[in-house]
């Protein structure tokens, strides 16, 4: 496989803290790859090592078949970066900032400033000082700067954090379009819907270790099925009350009720309703939904992604 990124046994230590603990990953060219994990999992550390901004404590990293130690200049010209938190020049305008960064990519087929202003919906703000942008606008500018060199590999560290729903969707479209043009994208996120929608494959990391790897669908399937039913009843029932229910794969407690993983909703749901009738209890909450990566994470670690 022609890998865009190859990571072997990557370790990064800060004193006693092990931020990345023996990570192995391979990202194919043209793939959109997601790194998921709770706060402090080591996502940013991993990405910054890939971007050549941090030196690893151990292990090897190759980007586009090259090593940072050997060909830093060429690599920097071929990747694009949006850091988790970018502060830019406060008193330059959006347009001036883009034009400045564009000069760094001279000689490459850099994107035009106009294209980027439009793509990132910053046209209205082109003459505004960076310090006067809202958080979301600043984030969009950061992504625009990542795109400006028309990179072969784009690294986006939590690109949609702080964006409103409309901007999020717009950025998703941009990323999807990049993928369609054969670019490789590595992104980190806490949003499961984002990973499911954008990523060909995701790796879930926790405490610097990879705890799952696969397509979103595979991971969901491995963790106990596509379909979930959230159920609370009055009066409450014990878990044993659902024993032998047709199509039931697993059951876990959530709040004052349960989450049931089921195989075929059209079979399991009627059976479930009938069971409630037999017991003479009334459902106070009955929601049928598809599983998300949140559920996967919970199944893997016993924690939800956002808590910690």
């Amino acid at each position: 496989m022609d890998a865009a990124i190859r990571i072997e046994g990557l370790v990064k230590r800060y004193g006693d803290v092990v931020a990345v603990d023996g990570l192995d990953l391979e990202v194919a060219r043209g793939e959109c790859f997601g790194l998921l994990g709770p706060n402090g999992a080591g996502k940013t550390t991993t990405v910054e090592i890939l971007e050549g901004l941090l030196a690893p404590t151990g292990g090897t990293v190759e980007v586009l078949g090259r090593r940072w130690a050997r060909e830093p200049l060429e690599l920097r010209a071929r990747i694009g970066v949006a850091l988790q938190e970018t502060k830019l020049f406060d008193r330059l305008t959006v347009e001036e900032t883009l034009r400045l960064f564009r000069t760094f990519y001279a000689g490459r087929a850099a994107l035009s400033v106009e294209t980027l202003l439009e793509e990132m919906q910053l046209g209205e703000k082109r003459a505004t000082w960076v310090m006067k942008l809202s958080g979301g606008q600043r984030q969009r500018l950061a992504v625009a700067l990542g795109l400006i060199g028309d990179p072969e590999v784009l690294f986006l560290d939590e690109p949609t954090t702080g964006l409103d729903p409309q901007s999020r969707r717009a950025l998703w479209d941009t990323i999807a379009a990049l993928r369609a043009r054969g670019k490789t994208v590595v992104l980190t996120t806490h949003y499961m819907d984002e990973a499911e929608r954008l990523c060909d494959r995701v790796a879930i990391v926790d405490h610097g270790k990879r705890i799952a790897l696969g397509t979103p669908a595979e991971l969901i399937d491995q963790s106990g099925g596509q379909h979930l039913v959230e159920l609370s009843t009055d009066p409450a029932l014990p878990a044993e009350a659902f024993a032998g229910l047709q199509g039931l794969r697993a059951i876990r407690v959530q709040g004052d009720g349960f989450v049931l993983s089921i195989d075929e909703p059209h079979v399991a749901l009627p059976a479930l309703i009938a069971r409630l009738g037999e017991r003479g209890v009334r459902p106070t909450r009955l929601v049928s939904r598809t599983a998300t990566l949140d559920d996967v994470f919970l199944a893997l670690t016993g924690r939800t992604l956002r808590e910690d």
């Binding site: 901004l53 941090l54 920097r76 850091l83 020049f89 008193r91 330059l92 000069t103």
Partner: protein, 347 residues
């Protein structure tokens, strides 16, 4: 607006600076305020008059009248108690006690450790002796001249330029770089193919624009308000300012090369600038320090700059006669820049 990255970075720097009123004031306005304040406080007040007291008693009025004839003397008649108090407080420099009986000596009462008291004694004595009929055998004509560039304000202004350039290199450039590191802007730049030297050089390029303006504004202002004049070549003064700002920038870069946050930078900058402000003769001459320290003081970049610029501006010396200070400045510029670039941290 489509030059290379170095030009774009420099233009960005200049733009940002012009958009920051605070920076503009500290760079251009503040030195002018100091010039005015110190120029007025330490202006030459013409020849000072000697305050003389004559003790009450017979003959006091005659003595006082004789002394009052001299335009350099202010005279008052007081009782003994008050006279003693005034002498102690330094309000008068000398008390004349006329003789109680004719033929007895006049008494001059004064503190000989006060230099103005000795001058006053000579003046009073001459007046009284002449009043009593003494004649001088030689005829005398006074010719007074004011040496050029010899006032305090003439001496001060070149030092203020040094201070201004040092502050620019430290608070303008060094602080800015540390701030960019703290805000991860340096990291973001390091992730682009930007040549890293271009970023650092852009501070020098913008300096090429600001330094001449600083020189022009300060000297034009000092000329208009206090008549301060550049007696040597203005081009030499400008060249010195550029060289000085280069060696201060090297120091600034060194401060900025590793500091992770603005507090550390703040401390480092004060550590470097404050001793130089005291030792290098900005506000008062460094010749006041013991001789044993002088060789070390002369090796400081700020001392070298002030020395050379004062020779050019106040004494009209040629820049080529300033070999030693020039060598010191070039030495600092090279060593600090090379070292700073070596140890510079981008993340």
């Amino acid at each position: 607006m489509t030059g290379g990255p170095l030009w774009a970075l420099s233009a960005a720097r200049i733009k940002q600076f012009l958009r920051e009123p605070g920076a503009l004031f500290w760079t251009f306005g503040f030195p002018l305020l100091i010039t005015v304040a110190l120029g007025i406080a330490f202006r030459n007040q013409g020849p000072t008059k000697s305050q003389i007291a004559v003790l009450e008693g017979p003959g006091a009025t005659t003595v006082a009248a004789t002394l009052a004839d001299d335009s350099g003397i202010v005279v008052t008649i007081v009782d003994p108690e008050r006279a003693a108090k005034r002498l102690g407080a330094g309000e008068v420099v000398l008390i004349v006690v006329p003789p109680a009986t004719p033929g007895a000596p006049f008494v001059y009462r004064y503190d000989p450790s006060r230099p103005d008291a000795l001058a006053a004694r000579r003046l009073v004595d001459e007046r009284l002796q002449r009043g009593a009929g003494r004649r001088d055998p030689l005829s005398i004509r006074d010719e007074t001249v004011v040496a050029r560039g010899s006032r305090y304000v003439d001496w001060l202004v070149p030092g203020l330029l040094g201070m201004q350039l040092l502050n620019g290199a430290m608070w303008g450039a060094a602080f800015n770089i540390v701030n960019a590191r703290q805000r991860k802007l340096l990291k973001r730049l390091a992730a682009t193919p930007m040549r890293r030297s271009d970023y650092l050089l852009s501070f020098r390029v913008s300096g090429l624009v600001f330094v001449p303006i600083q020189v022009l504004v300060l000297f034009a202002f000092a000329h208009l308000t206090f008549g301060v004049t550049i007696h040597g070549s203005p081009v030499a003064a400008l060249a010195l300012a550029l060289l000085g700002s280069w060696s201060f920038a090297g120091l600034g870069l060194l401060c900025a090369s590793r500091a992770q946050n603005s507090e550390t930078a703040n401390g480092l900058i004060n550590l470097i600038t404050l001793p130089m402000m005291v030792l290098s003769g900005v506000f008062f001459s460094s010749s006041r320090f013991p001789a044993i320290l002088q060789p070390a003081i002369r090796l400081l970049p700020m001392s070298a700059f002030n020395e050379a610029l004062r020779h050019v501006v106040n004494d009209g010396a040629s820049i080529f006669s300033q070999g030693f200070p020039l060598a010191v400045l070039v030495g600092w510029a090279l060593c600090t820049s090379v070292l700073a670039v070596r140890i510079f941290r981008w993340t």
